[in-house]
Symmetry: C2
Subunit: 255 residues, 2 copies
């Protein structure tokens, strides 16, 4: 069979302003738990962020995701009860001062956010053998996470906050949302307009954990190799870019 | 312990042009296998896309990712050999016409792309108990995938192509890159400037599989519930947005 030649995209350059907008979405995106406004999200906006999710990369073009939109208060209440139960167990796992901070943190906005959204992965969507998934079976789950991140960035550009709630027994999610066995709940998101976005991640502001220096996370050709002198310029650049991204300064810097 | 009040971000609105730029990156992003140019990627550009990855959301602010940059031809050759071996096994799993198409598809650009990048997840980065990962242990892997997608979109805005190669035995990756047991290889990416980006995903153009209608992937409050009349307007909007995104037309549409 002859492969069709796809059309070329002659306009693949982004302007500097467009590039900066993409970075701005990436650097100012936050996990939102406590700043949701009750304002309804218009269908036009919801549709755009869902479309962004749907255009994520997927292994073998499998598009394994589905979207369960939760707006009914009774369903949210059951999900919130599942969170409360798991969160009480979670708090017990931390000790001393950490447990004290843990209990003060607001970790979800299930009831306040006008929209909850469970993004799932249908592990059978494209049959038993999927191109690109022959050796790494979890690739379909990874594709679904890419859809989550697309939605998250699109939401930021729309002024919508998103929070990913992960403190659940998955069985409780499955049961409340009536997911069939082949459908795996990957992410439970709270979504809505917000009063503001924090300048820094909340866990950083709370002293829970700090941003790691990116330059220390780089390896060259093999794990543990520091790249020697040839890598020094890149490391300096990374240090400077991390500072710019953290302080919300102009990014990308002029070359 | 008192929690610090993080600063507010007063400028959280994106202009319409900035919003459109984010969607443009999302909709024009492609998995690139065959269009890599040999042009070197400047440190300034590489640093920005790595910084974008580093600003991904992470469970408990764990930042579990590391970046193994592969540029040495001998390492690329070993990785390519691992791909060839797995890909020969993979081809056997498809039957008839599918196998014929499979063998014609170019599925990686390991040797042509100037940079290969393995993004890994250190499962012990923040100790045994991680906030938000108490019940769903894979959350650290999901965080790492979010970093992949951030990098992918930033790369698109920089005019850089990215291809995710997943046809490997993970043990071969581990061995070639000397990853310690606690470090899990999540994504192996090929990265470089490209002659062009395809207008449609290659697997779609090759007739392998088509884009699914997003409206059929929506559920309301519970799996299998179609939302009735109240959901009709959203579904219509989704249909129209999917068309706009596919055809590369103006998006977001004016409200």
């Amino acid at each position: 069979m002859k492969l069709e030649t796809p059309g070329l995209n002659a306009e693949h350059e982004f302007t500097e302003a467009a590039r900066a907008a993409v970075y701005n979405a990436i650097f100012s995106r936050r996990d939102v738990r406590g700043q949701f406004l009750p304002d309804p999200v218009p269908d036009a906006v919801l549709s755009r962020v869902l479309t962004a999710a749907h255009f994520a990369p997927s292994v073998g073009y499998m598009q394994p995701w589905s979207f369960v939109l939760v707006r009914e208060p009774a369903v949210k209440e059951r999900i919130h009860a599942a969170f409360r139960e798991a969160n009480a167990e979670a708090a017990q796992m931390f000790e001393g001062a950490k447990q004290e901070i843990y209990r003060e943190l607001k970790l979800e906005g299930i009831r306040e956010a006008p929209i909850n959204l469970c993004i799932t992965c249908d592990r059978d969507r494209a049959g038993p053998v999927v191109l690109g998934r022959t050796h790494i079976k979890a690739m379909d789950i990874y594709s679904t996470v890419c859809a989550v991140q697309n939605l998250w960035l699109a939401a930021r550009a729309e002024g919508l906050g998103v929070g990913w709630v992960s403190i659940f027994h998955q069985a409780a999610l499955r049961e409340t949302l009536a997911l069939p066995p082949r459908v795996f709940p990957v992410a439970y998101l709270c979504l809505g307009y917000v009063s503001h976005f924090y300048q820094r991640p909340e866990l950083e502001a709370a002293g829970w954990r700090q941003r790691l220096p990116l330059e220390e996370l780089l390896h060259f050709d093999r794990w543990g190799e520091d790249g020697g002198e040839a890598a020094e310029a890149l490391k300096r650049q990374v240090r400077s870019d991390q500072n710019a991204a953290t302080s919300g300064g102009t990014f990308p810097a002029k070359e």
